[in-house]
Structure formats: C-alpha cells, structure tokens
C-alpha cells in the first residue's frame, strides 16, 4: 500500500501544540496527548509524533513506543469510511468471521487495509459490548446489529450508492 503524503495544516499543528502545553505537566500526559493528536489528524504519522516528542521533551522512540503498543492508535491513515467488524467471543460464536470475510471479499482488501481510492477501510475490533445484537459491525461508529454476510455487503454497498 502506497504511503500517503502527510497533509497536516498549520491550524492542526497549533491546536496540538496548544493542547500539549496545557497538559504536559500533569502526570501521565502521554496517552491523553496521543488520543488528542489522533483526534486532530485522524492518525499518528511520524511528523505528528515528532511534534509530540519535541513539545513533551521526550525521545521520539518513546512516543513511537507508546503509539505502537495500543491498538487504538494507528500510524496509517484510514479511509473516508471505516467499517469495523466485532470479533469478540459472542459475535464470533455467531459467525462474525463470515461477515468479515464477506466484506473483505466485497471491498477486495483485508482487515487493517484501505481501498486504493481511500474510500473504505476495514478494521476488526474486540467487543463493543453490544453482545445482545451479535454479530455486530459498525460503519463510522454507526452500529449495525444481527448482521448476516448478505446484509453486511448490502450495508457497504449503500455507502457507495450515497456518493
């Protein structure tokens, strides 16, 4: 997958630096800072990690270490829309693997990847806690419960129809 060029704006950088300066002295500020940075940029490319390392006065390796430890942080950009299939136990027992396979098949990419046009990316996640509706998937945070491979593909297609 081709790496997209970093397209951060000065406004985003000001926002991030302001947040860090406000919080850097509170104990354990690294996680909230990374969460805020991902909220601003959508992901944590090297350029953003460098800003954080500089402002917090820590080595870049430390920022990178934390950013790569947690699955919530991503170093690559996501698609315009993100579909996330829950692979928690309750969903798995009810066939979540088949749903993920159907979506991967439909979009021609694997979980963790983004379509070449940058429109859709697929994630898998571990339990949204909506086990009563298993199997579950979300598109941009909108929850779709009691999915079947067929209904999941239909939901994906509906996003293309909107364009």
């Amino acid at each position: 997958m081709a790496v997209l060029a970093f397209r951060g704006t000065p406004k985003q950088e000001r926002e991030l630096r302001k947040f860090i300066r406000k919080h850097k002295d509170q104990p354990g500020a690294m996680m909230p800072v990374l969460q805020e940075a991902q909220g601003i940029y959508g992901y944590l490319p090297r350029e953003v990690q460098e800003i954080i390392a500089q402002e917090m006065n820590v080595p870049l390796s430390q920022v990178f270490g934390v950013a790569t430890f947690y699955s919530q942080f991503t170093l690559t950009p996501k698609g315009e829309h993100t579909v996330s299939v829950c692979l928690g136990t309750a969903c798995y027992v009810k066939g979540a693997d088949k749903i993920l396979a159907a979506i991967e098949d439909r979009l021609g990419i694997k979980a963790g990847e983004c379509t070449p046009d940058g429109f859709f990316s697929i994630d898998s996640c571990r339990c949204l806690g909506a086990c009563g509706l298993a199997p579950v998937m979300t598109v941009d945070g909108e929850v779709y419960g009691k999915c079947t491979p067929e209904s999941a593909v239909k939901i994906i297609d509906s996003y293309y129809e909107e364009v």
């Binding site: 500020a29 934390v66 806690g129 909506a130 086990c131």
Partner: protein, 631 residues
C-alpha cells in the same frame, strides 16, 4: 456548594416518590404517582445495546409526540441497561410497569396515542412474556428472565436517570459516604468490608477488605484509588452497563475507599471503546463536584477526594493491575513483577488500591445495610451476587445478576430461556481468554470462585458465552489463543513465544496437519507457561486449550486422526460432496472444475474426488440444484 446531611436528605425527599414509582408493584406505584408532578413516566433504555438497536430514535419519537400532543404530565427518562439487550430498544411505562420490547418509532407514537392518552396498553407491543394467557399483564419481576435474579450491583440500572445525581441520591445515594466520613474510623470500614466477604469481581477474587487493609497499613504521604473499567474480555459488558446505568455508585465507593486508605485522588481507567460510559462518567463526576460530593472538605469533614478519567487505548493486558497503572503513567502498558504489590508500590510508585467496577458497585450498599446482610447472600466462600453477560447461543442474551451458588443450569435454562433453534447445549465459557469451558456434565455446578476453579474454569469478570453443538471446541480454543497471542505485550518470553507456539499447534490441528504428539506438547508447554509467565495474561493464556482438551479430547483426536471437524467449522477439513439425490447429472460442475476432479455420466449423479479437489468452490457456485455441499 458544601454538602450537608440536611441538604442530602432534602434532595432525597424531593425526588424519592418520583423514583419509587418505578420500583413498586403497579397498585402501590399508581398511588405514589399521584404525589408526583407526573401522571406517567416513560423509561427508555439508553445503554449501548439498546442505543445500537435505535433507542435514541424511539426516544426522539416519544418526545416529539409528547410535545405535539401538549402533554406536560408525562416524563421521559433515559436510563441505563435493563438487561434484556436482545429485545431492545426497551421502553417501560410506569406506574403500570408495562414492558415494551423491540420498540420502533412508529410503536412509540402508538404508545403515546393509545397507552398514555387513551389509557389502553398496546398489548401487541409488549414483551410477550409479560402478557398472561388470559390477557393480564405480569410485572417484569415475574418473568423467567428476572424472577431468579437478585439485583445488588445493578440495582439502579434501568431505574434511575444516570445523568441526574438527584435520582441517585433519592435511592440513598451518598448516604454511605456520609456515614463513613462522620461515624466510622478507617479500621471500622475495613472490618465491615472483611466481614461482608466481598471479593474482587474482576476475576481473581481477592478479598476487598484485605486489599484495603494492606494499603491502609502502608505509610505514605500520597496514595491513590483506582478503578479498573478496562473491560477487555471480549463478550463481557457488566462493567460498561454499571457505568452507563449507575456511575455514581462507583464514584461513591471510590471516595469511601479513599477515606479508608488515606487517599485524596482517584483514577478511573476506562476503555475508549465505551463512549456512552465515558460520557456518563464525565457527567457524574461534574455533578458530584457541583454538589460537593467530590472535591475539598466533603460533608464539612475535612476529607478531600477527587476523581479523574483516563482512557484506555485498546490493550487487553491493561486489565492486569500493574499494566493498568503503567498505562495511566503514560507508558507502554506492560506489567511488572509483583512484589512489590500495588498496595505498597503502585501508581506513580505510591501505595494504590485498585478494584473493578462491579466490586465498587457493591460497596456503598454493604456500608448502608451492613456486612451481615451481604454475607447472608451466596455460598460459604463466595458472598453476594455476580453479574454475568450472557451471550452466544442463548435465547435471552443480556445482563443477569444472580446470587453466588446459582447453578449454570438455572442461568441457561430458566433465566436464559434455553438454547435457540432446538439445538443442544454443548459448553459454557467463563472467564474469557483466561478461563475455560464447562461441559454439559457440569451444568449443575453451583457458580462460585472455588467450584469453577475445580472444574478447570474460573469466575473471570463475568463473560458467560453459551455454545451449542454447532461450535467446534478446537476452533474456539484457537480463537482465544489468537486473541492472547495478539494481546501479549511481549515483555516476557514465556508468554510472547508460548502463545505463538500454542497457536501454531492449534492451527495445525484445525488444518489436519498435526500428529497426536502435538497434544502432549500442548500440555507440556501450557504447564510451563502457567508457572513462568510474568502476569496473569500469560499464566492463564493456555486455559482455553487445556480445559477443552480435558473435556473434549475426542474432538481434538477426531481432527488429528480422522481429519474431520464434526461441527463443520474448520474449513481445511471440509470437502465438497455431491448429494446423489439432488444431482441431475447436468455436467455443469465437471465442465467448470479447473482440475478435473469431478466425474460422472450425463444424467447420472456426479462424484468429486477429494484427493484432486482444490476446494475452489466453483462447483457449488455453478450447481443449479443445490446438490453440492461441504462435509
């Protein structure tokens, strides 16, 4: 504002009747409702389950309709989880206690028009179990799902508005904190907790009172109280539901813990995957500060205590106590060796008490009602109740709270309503990736910490996944190993390499490329990991394999020797077969087969040579008679 006992009682009295309408039997509730400003109260579940099935749309529709009809004596309350998540969105109308399930915006309009305005309950929209054959409406407490439950940790969930502190106070909220601060010494609190027999609900079951006593005994200028809300077990949502439905119960208990050990700062470490829970917690903390129940000089006693939220970022290992604290410190969430235990050296190297959400949810009630009351519930060694997230192949998926000692059979057959589609019960899984499977021979085991351990599983945090005969136990073991392998933090090699090796061997078994020798190797490696891994993640990672191997060994053998998966889950062991009854001999499959594996004469049943077949599936796709299937 500074909170005083008088003010607390005033708030309680002001809201008491309004909230009690939701807790009484219909006849008494109707009487009570006359004393309030509202003729009807409509409770809408705002938990994650119901929100995901569209309860916000139902809520909007109700509000719109009420406004359109100009009803001023009808109150809408957005609550936490009622428990019956599979039937969401759930709506309850009080004082009748009419329980509407799977409500739609159109249904909401009918509830207002027919029930609220004309006074006739929409019986066809009610949860069918609450409608008796003769048309009488039963209270929720008499349905199979609720009758055997006992709600302590969940007592306010689905009853109060979690975004309104006054409703929590109306049901004796913060009375326990007042009692502790004004009339109990630190040691007296510890004595009550010890006598109650409350044990950690996160899974390990360490006595809460002893944990607090250790931390109190450590001398330090600064101490911390932490709440573990990093509910990582996939398939468990007890803690989330408590935070969404009754966040103040957790805050009050943390303040009590703070007083007991001598801490003035608390942290709640909560999963970022739970946005509704995080939002409600934020609101609850803000309101508690405004009411003087968090902050400086609480109840004028000179006791200071405040709470901050820290969001997790998706790492299962952070449910382990030392890893959780390392994560709050802003580092990679890796565990460290114990001792020193957190009670001596925890967060920021200071003595720390860490308890799980559900544990905290019991604390205030133990203080108010006494240790004797609490210890009268449950079994000899496990007191009180336990909340389970009931999921998988079960009719009533949802949240249940039962006294310790309830049998698995009662939970599955009575509360859970049995296995759907006439399938047979095969196994229940407790304890998630750290736990094990309970086969049907042990279905009458009373659930408590010790008896679950004896049969090779564990209490865990409360995920209870039911599996039917369509579930392949090797595949389930592999599923959990994939999880722990991915979530292993990599700090210690027994876990990092051990989980990977176990997974490889399981993978070979599901592909039919393993030998019987592998089973011995699995058991040997599992035994090593149990003693040599740094933290509980690695020490327990082999449990799903070991317990399935213990009870379902013949399934493993079947995979290895016969290369067969009876549940038809392991794809590599399945073969395409043509049903001679359905095959018309049209030759379409054999003409399309890229490797020439299909033979047969025109108008005669065809046959697939499984030694040649590459399982591309073209034959199944092309067959117009549905004669090709996998076996």
């Amino acid at each position: 504002m500074t909170m005083t006992y008088e003010k607390l009682m005033q708030i309680k009295e002001k809201n008491r009747e309004l909230v009690m309408v939701r807790r009484l039997v219909a006849s008494k509730a109707e009487e009570m409702a006359k004393h309030t400003a509202y003729r009807k109260q409509i409770l809408v579940c705002g938990g994650t389950g119901c929100t995901s099935s569209g309860s916000h749309k139902v809520c909007d529709a109700l509000e719109k309709e009420i406004k359109a009809k100009g009803l001023t004596d009808v109150l809408i309350v957005k609550t936490g989880c009622f428990g019956l998540c599979a039937l969401g969105p759930v709506v309850i109308v009080y004082p009748e206690g009419a329980f509407y399930s799977q409500t739609t915006p159109e249904g909401a309009k009918r509830i207002i028009d027919e029930h609220i305005i004309k006074g006739s309950i929409c019986k066809d929209l009610l949860y069918p179990e609450t409608v008796h054959e003769d048309g009488e409406i039963l209270p929720l407490s008499q349905t199979n799902f609720y009758a055997k439950q006992m709600r302590i940790a969940l007592r306010n969930c689905g009853v109060i508005d979690p975004e309104n502190i006054e409703e929590y106070i109306a049901l004796d909220g913060y009375a326990a904190l007042h009692k502790v601060l004004t009339s109990m010494t630190q040691d007296q609190v510890i004595d009550v907790m010890l006598a109650s027999g409350l044990r950690g609900r996160g899974g390990a079951g360490f006595p809460t009172g002893r944990k607090w006593a250790f931390c109190k005994a450590t001398k330090s200028d600064i101490k911390y109280v932490c709440c573990n809300a990093d509910e990582g077990d996939p398939g468990a949502f007890m803690d989330r539901s408590i935070l969404e439905g009754d966040p103040h119960a957790v805050l009050e208990a943390m303040a009590i813990a703070g007083y007991t050990i001598g801490a003035s700062q608390g942290y709640v470490y909560v999963r970022a995957e739970y946005p509704i829970a995080v939002e409600r917690l934020k609101i609850a903390i803000k309101q508690a500060r405004e009411y003087g129940l968090l902050g400086k000089d609480i109840f004028g006693t000179g006791f200071n205590f405040d709470i901050e939220i820290r969001l997790g970022a998706g790492a299962f290992v952070c449910g382990e106590e030392t890893a959780l604290m390392t994560s709050i410190e802003g580092k990679r969430g890796e565990p460290r060796p114990r001792p020193p235990f957190p009670a001596v050296e925890g967060l920021f190297k200071k003595p720390t008490v860490l308890n799980n959400v559900e544990t905290y949810a019991n604390v205030a009630q133990i203080i108010r009602k006494g240790a004797e009351w609490y210890s009268s519930i449950g079994t000899e060694t496990s007191k009180g109740t336990k909340v389970f997230a009931l999921g998988g192949k079960i009719t009533n998926v949802g949240l249940v709270e039962v006294p310790m000692g309830t049998t698995l059979r009662e939970i599955i057959e009575e509360i859970g309503g049995g296995i759907p589609n006439g399938k047979k019960f095969k196994a229940a899984q407790t304890g998630g990736p750290s736990g094990g499977c309970i086969p049907s021979v042990h279905i009458d085991t009373p659930i408590d910490y010790e008896s679950l351990q004896r049969i090779g599983s564990m209490m865990g945090s409360g995920g209870l996944i039911i599996m039917d005969e369509d579930t392949c136990m090797v595949d389930i073991a592999k599923f959990y190993l994939e999880f722990t392998c991915e979530e292993s933090c990599g700090k210690c090699s027994p876990c990092r390499i051990g989980t990977k090796r176990l997974l490889h061997m399981l993978d070979d078994i599901t592909k039919g490329t393993a030998t019987m020798e592998e089973l011995d190797k699995i058991e040997e490696l599992a035994a090593h990991m149990k003693v040599s891994c740094l933290c509980a993640l690695g020490q327990t990672a082999s449990n799903p394999v070991v317990s399935t191997l213990r009870y379902f060994r013949e399934e493993y053998v079947e995979h290895i020797v016969d290369k067969r998966c009876a549940a038809k889950k392991c794809k590599d062991l399945l073969h395409y077969v043509i049903d001679p009854e359905k095959c018309k001999g049209c030759t379409l499959c054999s003409r399309n087969c890229p490797v020439g594996a299909i033979s047969g004469k025109v108008k005669e049943p065809h046959h697939i040579d499984k030694n040649v077949c590459i399982k591309c599936g073209l034959c199944k796709q092309n067959c117009k008679f549905g004669a090709v299937y996998m076996d």
